[in-house]
């Protein structure tokens, strides 16, 4: 699925497009967040837990030879918490809500961006929570995201101010 579909308001048809749009958002976050410098031959790992569809959508990035700061993107789907230790982005699906606390605890203080699409994740340790938001006329929905600055602090991540402008900031 092309990431180009992800731009603009949510497409009219189906969950596939929504997942693709979410995957595009996850990729775009890498453009406005700086991770600590790592060797160029070390892959930029995006791990997905509890959302196989999202894993499949993000796998398209790997197929498309996308890079982050010169590092090739590798997408890994796993139910193992250890597998998520070495990643830079950890997407936590709704199915993994019961392990959220463990994952947040294990990722604490590490340069890992925790992203989820489950309502309420932001504020529970997830840094960015994707959600759907109706437009002002209520006719269409837009995919937006919510940022929890506390969940970002202390991880060595540098987040662009533009990201705070575009998203909602959790107070």
């Amino acid at each position: 699925m092309s990431l180009a579909l992800a731009f603009g308001p949510l497409p009219a048809g189906g969950d596939d497009n929504l997942i693709a749009l979410k995957a595009a958002f996850v990729y775009k976050f890498t453009r406005f967040i700086d991770w600590p410098v790592a060797p160029a031959d070390r892959p930029f790992i995006i791990a997905v837990i509890g959302d196989p569809a999202m894993h499949a959508a993000l796998a398209a990035l790997e197929e498309g030879s996308r890079e982050v700061a010169g590092r090739p993107i590798r997408v890994r789907g796993s139910c193992d918490l250890d597998a998520a230790d070495a990643c830079q982005i950890l997407f936590i699906g709704a199915a993994a809500e019961d392990r959220l606390a463990d994952m947040v605890r294990r990722a604490a203080g590490r340069p890992v961006l925790l992203v989820g699409d489950t309502s309420g994740f932001a504020g529970r340790g997830v840094a960015i929570e994707l959600f759907r938001k109706p437009d002002i006329l209520g006719k269409r929905e837009q995919l937006r995201f919510r940022i929890d600055p506390k969940a970002l602090s202390g991880r060595g991540l540098t987040v662009s101010a533009q990201l705070y402008e575009v998203g909602e900031v959790l107070r």
Binding site: G8, F25, E165, V166
Partner: protein, 497 residues
Amino acid sequence: MRRPRPNSIRWRLFGLAGAISALTVAIAGTLFILNDLSMLRRQMVRDLEVLAVVIGDNCLAALEFDAPQTAERNLASLRREYQIRVAALFDAGGRLFAAYRRDADQPLPALPRHEDGVVVVTPLLGLGRVEVLRTLHLDGQPIGRIIIQASTDELAAQRHRYALIAAGLLATTLTLSLLLAWRMQRRISEPILGLADKTEEISKEGDYRMRISEPPSSFDEIETLAKGLNQLLTTIQEREAELESHAVALDSANGRLRSLATEISLVEERERKRLATELHDSAMQKLAIARLQIEGVAERPASATEAAHDERLDVGLALIREVLGELRSLQFELSPPSLYLGGLPQALQSLAAHITARCGIAIDYVEPYAVPEPPLELAVVLYQCARELVYNVVKHARARKGVILVSSSDGGLDVEVRDDGQGFQMDAAPPPYGGSGGYGLYSVRERLAVLGGGLSVESGAQGSRVIMHVPMDAPVSTPSHTDPQVTEDTALRPLKR
């Protein structure tokens, strides 16, 4: 009060200084304004480019995450820049993503087709608008374009302010420069105008004793001109004095000539009278007696004897011979033939011999060395003067002997008449005009003076000494005398005068 002059150097200097100042200020002001407007326009373009970069970069996330409201908020921050009229953000597909308009009625721009850059619609003097177009990139990929349009009202306003400032500056500078020029030009024009006024006054009044007051020593052309004019005035004054002196001398000479002419007329009249008296008292009486004697013979009265006739004839012929001798003597006195035949020395020698023979005074002629023969005209005048002096000796000196001495000195000829008589008082020499006294010395002196010569007189109890001196190249006119034919006949005729 100085007379106003329409083309006075003062006004020309004043106008020149004003024109130069105005031109300088105008050129400098224009260049300054153009340069400043150009700098302002460049600054404005740079500012717009910076704004396009900053605002565009701030809108990257909005474009990426499809948040046009965020982009519009960013664009709305351009409101602080009042000259920016329109800003628009286009997505990668060329669709209008967000826009900002200062005025609601401002039309939104379409996506420009040209490359990134700056478009100045009216480049001259900042009128019109400036447009900056920039493509937005994220990770090397174009994700949109931003366009910012600004009016150049600021440039126009700045130009208007500059125009006012330039006009004020021009007026102020011109006023100050004219005031300064008015003050400064007086340093140049005042001395020149003073020179002109003084020159005009001198020329009008013709008084060359006036002088131009020289300016304080400045070693400039005005000082040189003033000194030169004063020097010229001095020269003119000296020439005038010299001319006046010459005029006085000329008047004096004319007077002396008139006196001389009168004196000569009197001398001639006296000579005529003397000749008439001599002719009447002697020659005519003797001729009358001779005629009676001869008529007595011609009538041959019966009572007269032959011897009586012969005696009458003898007496008459003797009288005629005497008269003939007297007439010859008279002719000699008037104009000796020897003067024309033998020159001045021979004439003077004859004069000495004649006086010695007739008057009982021994007059010697002395010529210690051969002197150059003067021109005939000069010789005639010298002879007449010498004769006058000798006659003075005969008439007044009561001398027993005298000397006529001819010599030369100083390129001229000296004729000295000396006697051992009783002398005379020196003040008797120059007689009043027309007077019969003065022994003729006055006329002698004047005639010599006309010739450039002179007369020196020494007189005392032992006698008198009168020396005449004339230059050999004396300017003499053609004498009225003509060379008489010295014959028996002409000797009896009076000389033509």
